[in-house]
């Protein structure tokens, strides 16, 4: 499978504080990658660096297939909190059209086929009936669908989502993950999804990138669940919590060490000496 994003030796700091250390991974076209890790682990910093919003100290980021030259082929979905201003005077249609208009050179005019694209994505995400509604008066879940429509209307090859469900309740969150999974499967869009909700996203993603200021794990979710190194790193209970919803954890995994760790899924061991990539310890 073709590599669509290659990151090499990426280091990022805020002032003197190094947030990401020597990050390296390859994303293949069509992957659905969950970027997870505890608070302050550098998840959002990583995606913002990939998107060019934060400069890197060193390292390389290569978007494949000419994407570096075509920024609009990279879709971006921020946290939903951005649209909470109920006074903001914009209709859903205007927000989704923005996804096409930012790609256009002057004069920025929407043609008939552009309007067809807008209507199609609104239909696909089941928000056609909200087209003329004011964005600020929609629920968090509806607003997030609108922003997803804006990100998708330009038919991106990579979609990067930065904690898109942090403000949503569990039911809406689950529906949202399913919607993203459907876009990944139907449209073959490569997806990078930042989340603190490790247990849930494991059901939908096919790869996991676990950060804790350095790359702790990158590879298939099942490999994560079966990795003895990860059991050593997180402790059995925490690893089990991360994997049980996915059904990937082998309960009879005879050689995992049972630990009495009390750490939660979001509050894990931060031993930084271990680095496992592709399910392999390096």
């Amino acid at each position: 499978m073709e590599t669509i994003l290659k990151v090499e030796n990426l280091n990022v700091s805020y002032g003197r504080h190094r947030v990401l250390n020597d990050i390296a991974f390859d994303i293949k076209k069509g992957d659905y990658v969950g970027i997870v890790g505890p608070n302050g682990s550098g998840k959002s910093t990583l995606v913002k660096t990939l998107l060019g919003l934060i400069p890197a100290d060193s390292g390389k980021i290569h978007f494949g297939n000419g994407l570096e030259l075509a920024r609009h082929k990279i879709g971006y979905l921020p946290q939903v909190a951005i649209t909470t201003d109920s006074l903001f005077p914009a209709k859903v249609r205007e927000i989704v059209e923005m996804g096409l208009l930012v790609q256009k050179k002057f004069p920025k005019i929407l043609h008939k086929e552009d309007k067809t694209k807008v209507n199609r994505i609104l239909d696909e995400l089941s928000i056609s009936d909200l087209k003329e509604e004011k964005i600020g008066q929609l629920s968090g879940g509806q607003q997030q669908r609108v922003l997803l429509a804006r990100a998708m209307v330009g038919e991106p090859e990579i979609l990067i989502l930065d904690e898109p469900t942090s403000a949503l309740d569990p039911k809406i969150r689950s529906e949202f993950y399913q919607m993203i999974q459907s876009l990944n499967q139907k449209r073959q869009v490569t997806i990078l999804l930042v989340s603190h909700d490790i247990g849930s996203i494991g059901q939908y993603t096919n790869k996991m990138l676990y950060l804790d200021q350095r790359l702790v794990f990158f590879g298939d979710y099942k490999d994560f669940c079966h990795s003895n190194d990860m059991t050593d790193y997180f402790g059995f209970e925490t690893q089990h919590k991360m994997c049980w919803q996915h059904g990937a954890h082998d309960h009879n995994h005879s050689h995992v060490k049972l630990k009495t760790s009390t750490s939660s899924v979001e509050d894990v061991n931060t031993d930084q000496s271990l680095k496992v990539v592709g399910g392999e310890k390096v």
């Binding site: 998107l51 609009h72 971006y76 921020p78 006074l87 005077p89 914009a90 209709k91 205007e94």
Partner: protein, 269 residues
């Protein structure tokens, strides 16, 4: 009464220049208010006080001195925000208070033009010169044209600056463009309502429109219509009732806001 007033050349000039400046203020105001940067109008108005004092000291037309200096000050505010890691309001406060201090010092050093300076504090559109009318018309049309031409880009950075940046838009360039357009508009606006009140021409029409509009286009249209209406109504009312024009225009703006706010409350209750 209106027909009588409109016969006068100074009223015609006030209506033409005032309406064009009102349109510029309204268009920019929507972007500035939504980006929580509306106080830049107030800050740059304070800067223009100092630049007018300098122009009067040098005996040159104030527009010629004020426009470049106010543009430089707006760049300074942006740079302070970017580099000195100051909050937007703090940078505006620093630059505007320093400017007022400089203006006061210049005015006290060069005694004799305090009456002229007073007219810039509270506006004097009814005594606007032909040169000012032409300059105001040209510069207002430049600002209005800029907003119309870059409408979609300005909308994108107003709604979500990070998204615009990720999409490859030159957000910094657009921010500087807004700063230039705001500076020009503020300098023109001080002729209409004065340095003390010019920020109201930026803020009032925008917040009035935000109470009742459902789309971005309608917000721009309502702000523009409100702003032009208030200038026209203010000019006629001040002529007929012998009131200060700047203050009358701002009071009309406040009345429009009160109506829009009341309408919204009734609609939502």
């Amino acid at each position: 009464m209106i027909l009588e007033a409109i016969q006068y050349g100074f009223i015609q000039k006030a209506l033409i220049a005032g309406s064009l400046i009102a349109l510029s203020c309204a268009f920019l105001g929507v972007f500035l208010v939504l980006r929580k940067f509306s106080m830049i109008g107030d800050g740059l108005a304070h800067v223009s006080f100092a630049t007018v004092a300098l122009a009067l000291l040098l005996s040159v037309p104030p527009l010629i001195v004020s426009i470049p200096l106010v543009i430089l000050s707006s760049f300074l505010i942006l740079k302070l925000n970017e580099k000195a890691n100051l909050h937007g309001d703090a940078a505006i406060g620093l630059v505007s208070s320093l400017s007022v201090a400089i203006g006061i010092v210049i005015a006290s050093l060069a005694q004799g033009f305090n009456v002229d300076l007073f007219s810039y504090l509270f506006g004097s559109i009814l005594v606007i010169s032909d040169l000012d009318v032409y300059l105001s018309a040209v510069l207002s049309l430049v600002v209005i044209g800029g907003v119309v031409f870059y409408y979609h880009d300005l909308f994108a950075i107003t709604y979500d600056e990070n998204y615009a940046r990720v999409s490859g838009m030159k957000v910094e360039h657009l921010n500087y463009m807004i700063a230039v357009m705001t500076s020009i508009t503020i300098v023109l606006g001080i002729r209409v309502v004065g340095t003390m009140l010019v920020s109201s021409l930026i803020v009032f029409p925008a917040v009035t429109a935000l109470q009742v509009s459902r789309s971005f286009r309608s917000a721009m249209a309502i702000a523009a219509a409100t702003s032009v209406f208030c200038v026209i109504a203010g000019v006629f009312a001040s002529f007929n009732f012998n009131l200060p024009t700047g203050g009358t225009i701002v009071i009309f703006n406040a009345i429009c806001f009160a109506f829009a706010f009341g309408y919204k409350v009734v609609l939502t209750s």
